[in-house]
């Protein structure tokens, strides 16, 4: 199917913008996956919580309503982070820590089985609890940005998505600096690479994990708050994003937050640009094909390190 240069650039632009939201989500997931080696099935539902947090902060008599329809949603997205961070903290303290990290190291498979069930259980609770609390009517954060765009030549860039892109990039850079240059951040990485050694060095692995978990879900929640400005959602929306997040994290490289960002971005680009050559319906199949190709050709992902040793 022939396509024009404009079509190509427009699809690329769309891919980058869509991908930036995925990228931010992936960073959140990547931090958890990288630090704790846990597959968190509930990540999509923390995304959903972020969306609702942003919604309630701006809608109607929401606290941030006074900021207006432009700044309000962005502030709300940021605030969604700490809200979900706190929830994540509590969840880890009482439930998740029992099946991950130091708490589970003694059991067969290092608690791997428990992790899956616990995160699946949390996912069920969040989705259905969400239905009870928020109701089933799809809602969205209203902002005029979602239907306006900036023009570069013939290419239209949706404003809400551009804002989301900028926020995502900034946050990603911030996370990168945090993890590589602060003591806390480095402690997280140490706990990930070698929990035993980290313990000997006085790094409280459990605490490090709790931080990683909470930051991870918090970042994804912020991504949710941003997505909420241009998409409507209901309590079961998390499902749609979990797979994309995992594909992005694995693509970019497990254990590399830098990679998670690029992985998410790449997923977005593949998803949007595949429509140039493939039937629209196979967008997501294209993601999986790319995902599988990368896994086979370069299992450690683009930026990851091979860590499975004999």
């Amino acid at each position: 199917m022939p396509f024009s240069e404009v079509d190509f650039l427009q699809a690329l632009a769309a891919g980058i913008l869509v991908g930036s939201a995925y990228a931010l989500m992936c960073i959140g997931l990547g931090i958890i996956f990288g630090s704790m080696n846990v597959i968190n099935f509930a990540q999509g539902d923390f995304l959903m919580l972020g969306m609702y947090a942003a919604f309630y902060l701006t809608a109607g008599y929401g606290v941030l309503a006074f900021l207006g329809p432009y700044a309000g949603p962005i502030a709300a997205a940021f605030l969604a982070g700490p809200v979900v961070f706190a929830l994540g903290w509590v969840l880890h303290r009482f439930i998740v820590s029992r099946v991950t990290g130091a708490g589970a190291a003694q059991t067969v498979g290092a608690g791997a089985y428990g992790q899956i069930i616990v995160t699946l259980g949390i996912s069920l609770i969040l989705q259905n609890g969400g239905l009870i609390l928020f109701g089933s009517t799809p809602v969205g954060v209203r902002t005029p940005l979602s239907r306006q765009s900036w023009e570069i030549g013939d290419i239209l860039l949706n404003q809400a998505r551009v804002v989301s892109f900028l926020v995502a990039v900034t946050l990603a850079a911030g996370m990168y600096l945090f993890l590589s240059h602060t003591r806390l951040g480095k402690g997280l990485r140490a706990a990930a690479d070698n929990p035993q050694a980290a313990i000997y060095m006085g790094i409280e692995v459990d605490r490090a994990h709790r931080l990683a978990w909470s930051i991870g879900v918090g970042i994804t929640a912020i991504a949710g708050g941003l997505v909420a400005t241009f998409q409507t959602f209901q309590p079961y929306v998390g499902f749609d994003f979990v797979i994309v997040m995992y594909a992005g994290v694995v693509l970019g490289g497990l254990g590399s937050n830098f990679g998670a960002f690029w992985g998410g971005l790449l997923i977005g680009i593949v998803q949007q640009m595949s429509t140039l050559v493939l039937p629209y319906q196979l967008q997501n199949t294209a993601i999986f094909v790319v995902f599988l190709l990368i896994i086979f050709l370069r299992p450690q992902g683009i930026f990851g390190r091979l860590s499975e040793r004999a």
Binding site: G140, R147, Y280
Partner: protein
């Protein structure tokens, strides 16, 4: 409202003493009204919970009103009791719900549901074998293509709607602007009803019959991540109007906002849609009235002239800003069952089914709630039904076609 045998047996076992009293009373009292049971299966939890909620609102209202008006007269004033079951979020749950209903309540005389066509398919496999008459608003052709005798589809099939939607829309356009559109853009998702609709357009020659050429023809898998590539094609191909077949509100929103963003909104690209999500209050809440102004959509059922009083009652009772297809059908299905019971004169599911087959109602509560006569053919499909069109005007989706039941006059959006 729902008692499983376990709960019932436990309660009975524990409260023998208390039970015996009313049992005695039932024996002595002569005018204790009987109950006639009907069922509704709808998604009450899961991603489609909102639709289930609307169906339930309509049905509850109907049961309450009919009972307060005296119940089923031919059964001595017997009252309707409606039993709900949650179809959940997948076909297995829907089927289980159907089987459970039948096992717990063997005295059901009819039912309605389950909104999503795959749920309806699964549910009716059970109800057909139990010979329970079943009504549904689902559009999918497959529902009444199986040679079943106890399934009655109150909505016209997607294929039929496809055949009717375009000619009517074109007529409207011609009427309003004097010109007949020559090119069309089609954007649809790949769920069952749009696929049937689309199949008719492409393979069934629907487009050719009305002299239209599709310059954009895209099918996507929901949920839509970004409408840019879709709308971009519209921007370059510039069809005379856009046919939008999306079954989920979030996808509608993305496309409509993207149209506006690409300067194709607010009437520049006339929009014709199909299906109830195009008229949902949530769409209004998330996009706002300006982007929706002028959007036409065809739908199986929408508030008609003569229903104004009902609409007011409904709005007051539920707090919804306006009534939609799902609520109307929920109410209407109960009305049809009531009429069938009246005609059958017995709380017997086979007689009720026969009564529905023989039905030809143009007046009365059931006929009020569906456009056209209530009459089903041997497949269980309705006949002589007009295609309903509604149009968003100043933030309210009003019926504009057929003219004799319209609540407003249509206009064709123009630049």
């Amino acid at each position: 409202m729902q008692n499983s045998p376990t709960r019932r047996s436990v309660t009975a076992g524990l409260a023998l003493g208390a039970v015996s009293l009313p049992a005695l009373r039932v024996g002595t009292a002569s005018a204790q009204a009987k109950l006639v049971k009907i069922a509704m299966i709808a998604p009450l939890s899961g991603p489609w919970a909102r639709q289930g909620q609307l169906l339930r609102q309509g049905a509850d209202m109907a049961v309450e009103e009919f009972n307060s008006q005296g119940g089923i007269k031919s059964l001595g004033g017997a009252k309707l009791e409606i039993i709900y079951a949650d179809a959940g979020d997948n076909t297995e749950k829907a089927k289980n719900a159907a089987q459970r209903l039948l096992s717990d309540h063997p005295d059901l005389v009819g039912g309605s549901g389950a909104w999503l066509s795959s749920f309806t398919l699964a549910v009716t496999e059970v109800t057909e074998r139990a010979q329970l008459p079943w009504l549904t608003l689902s559009y999918s052709d497959a529902i009444t293509n199986r040679g079943f005798k106890f399934v009655f589809q109150t909505s016209p099939t997607a294929e039929w709607q496809a055949a009717e939607t375009l000619p009517t829309a074109l007529k409207l356009a011609e009427h309003a602007t004097g010109k007949r559109p020559k090119t069309i853009g089609v954007i649809q998702d790949n769920t069952a009803s749009p696929v049937s609709f689309g199949k008719h357009l492409r393979e069934g020659g629907g487009l050719e019959k009305v002299g239209l050429k599709a310059t954009v023809d895209q099918i996507f898998t929901p949920p839509l991540s970004d409408a840019t590539p879709l709308v971009d094609k519209l921007r370059s191909a510039k069809p005379d109007f856009l046919l939008l077949l999306t079954s989920a509100m979030p996808d509608c929103k993305l496309v409509l906002e993207k149209l506006d963003e690409f300067k194709l909104g607010k009437g520049k690209m006339p929009l014709v849609g199909n299906g109830a999500p195009f008229g949902s209050p949530e769409l209004l809440n998330t996009i706002g009235p300006e982007l929706l102004e002028g959007m036409l959509f065809s739908v199986a059922n929408w508030p008609l002239k003569g229903q104004e009083e009902f609409i007011e009652r409904f709005k007051k009772r539920t707090g919804e800003p306006f009534a939609t297809q799902d609520a109307l059908c929920g109410y209407g299905d109960v009305a049809i069952l009531k009429e069938a019971l009246e005609a059958a004169g017995a709380a017997d599911k086979l007689k009720v089914a026969e009564a529905i087959r023989q039905m030809n109602l143009t007046t009365g509560p059931a006929a009020q709630f569906f456009p056209g006569p209530i009459k089903f053919d041997e497949k269980g499909r309705r006949q002589d039904v007009p295609m309903i069109f509604a149009q968003w005007q100043k933030g309210v989706p009003l019926t504009v076609f057929p003219e004799d039941r319209a609540l407003a006059k249509p206009f064709w959006p123009s630049v």
